[in-house]
């Protein structure tokens, strides 16, 4: 009963909420009205936008000294998570069968384990930093903690079901993914998409004003 609910209606509901929510939020950002800049442009907008989109992957030297821990742990976590989501063999098989109709080479088992370990390492350290650093503790909201916990639970349930032998473990992982998808558009997890328009907007504005960033 519960398994057919998780594999059926709840799965489609969570997918609907995820896609509709992401489209609505991105649409509201992209099509939001803002003041027209009447100043004379000192430079082109597009190169500035593109430059900022990629240059922001490298932290500013002066700033890096003070945020080494967050930057390194952040990269460790995000790269690990990216590899786990898009290069784990069961995920590729799932995406191929249910969504895309094509596949790509998966990580070997040991590669998946290393990626998952890196993701766990980064996530736990970053979350602990959020709680322990007096500044981050003040800045963090309940939503940030829920996002971290949900991501941890999704990762954990997925890794616990690695053997792919027990339906109950697979269902647990799928259920946690569904909760994650439903929560995603309403939380700071949206940064997975919003970082692009945010950087483009800032970069374009800098480009127009002749600022190299």
């Amino acid at each position: 009963m519960i398994d057919s609910f998780i594999d059926g209606p709840l799965w489609y509901f969570s997918l609907f909420i995820f896609f509709a929510g992401v489209i609505l939020r991105l649409g509201s950002i992209i099509f939001s009205k803002h003041k027209v800049d009447l100043s004379v442009a000192k430079g082109p907008e597009t190169p500035g936008a593109l430059r900022t989109l990629f240059s922001r992957f490298i932290p500013d030297k002066g700033l890096f000294k003070h945020i080494k821990f967050q930057v390194i742990a952040g990269y460790v976590f995000h790269l690990g998570l990216f590899a786990v989501i898009f290069f784990a063999a069961p995920h590729i098989k799932f995406l191929d069968k249910h969504f895309l109709g094509f596949s790509w080479p998966a990580l070997p088992h040991w590669g998946f384990l290393v990626a998952a370990q890196l993701a766990f390492l980064g996530l736990i350290l970053l979350w602990l930093h959020r709680i322990m650093s007096p500044v981050s503790r003040l800045l963090s909201t309940k939503g940030d903690h829920i996002s971290s916990i949900l991501t941890f639970v999704v990762l954990l349930t997925g890794c616990l079901a690695l053997l792919e032998s027990f339906s109950s473990l697979r269902l647990l992982h799928r259920f946690s993914v569904e909760l994650f998808l439903i929560y995603f558009p309403f939380s700071s997890l949206m940064h997975a998409f919003t970082f692009v328009p945010s950087r483009i907007f800032t970069g374009a504005w800098f480009g127009r004003r002749g600022i190299k960033s």
Partner: protein, 362 residues
Amino acid sequence: MTKLKHFWFLGIMMMLFSFNINSVSATENLKDANSGLADAVSLQQERVQSPGSDLWRNVRQRDATISGRTQVKGLKSGTLIDTKNNQWRKVRRELLLPYGGYFLMGALGIIALLFLFIKRQRIPNGKSGQTVTRMSTMQMITHWFLVVIVGFMSITGLLLLFGRFVIIPLMGASAFSPIASASKEGHNLMGPLLVVALLMMLIYYVRHNFPAKGDLKWLLTVGGLFSKKHLEVGYFNAGEKILYWATIVLCTVLSITGLLLLFPYYEPTIDRTQLALLIHAIAALALIAMVFGHIWMVYTVEGTFDAMDTGEVDENWAKSHHSRWYKEKTQTNEDDEGELSASSEGTISKDPSSEKEQGAYS
């Protein structure tokens, strides 16, 4: 009509005959069964052995492992039966599990008694409201990272060690199977992170944990437990240093033996793998028992937890439990403030929170 009577008679006779046959065959079956059982019993009594058992007994050679020759290349290809696995099973079931269980239950029992009968030690003169920075952000992160990893490894490890005997009677075998599988996958996956936690523990804590003046006195008087005399203690007392080094040693043992178990092909002899597993389990049980004690110590001394919660401790707590460190700390702060005000002519004010943040990443 007479003919019919004959048929009737014939019918009855046939039924009786067939019944007789059935009953005979049933009796014979019963007899066979009984004789089979008797045979089996007599076989057991006479120890009549089948040629097959002779063969396998010869292969096994009772308690010794013998190796033959084969063209199959592999470390254990020549050994058909390795008796050491059965010996290990016995050690695990008859020694490790019961005594390990008693040890953990005993440790929990002692902690429960301490909770019941030892009064919580209040901060002398109560909380002052003034705090001193005791832990940097990185020290707190390191501590809690170790807590998360050790906690997860302990739960999954205990499930793997005792789960069969605890979970199956409670929830049944069908519930235990996925729990055991999940525990095994989780334990293997998170295990290497213990090495990272261990390295962080060394980087961020080792400098405070070398033997120092007053440690021997602290040990001889058990931290002044039986005397009311005040002891001058630095950043950590001798008890905390012992706990730290015991944690380092046990986590190192757990990491090395754990990695040997994770990569058995690099440690191919079964004896060493079994030894690694035994040491791994004993070290883990010792660490868990120690953690119970650590939790009790933190609870029983009021104000101690604050050091790992906010990184700040009450001044009265610091004066009472780590007076030498408090003096050094306040002395250094005064000197720093003097230097800063002299060099900046009073324009630079030092923010303790920014000092903490800077210190954390330097």
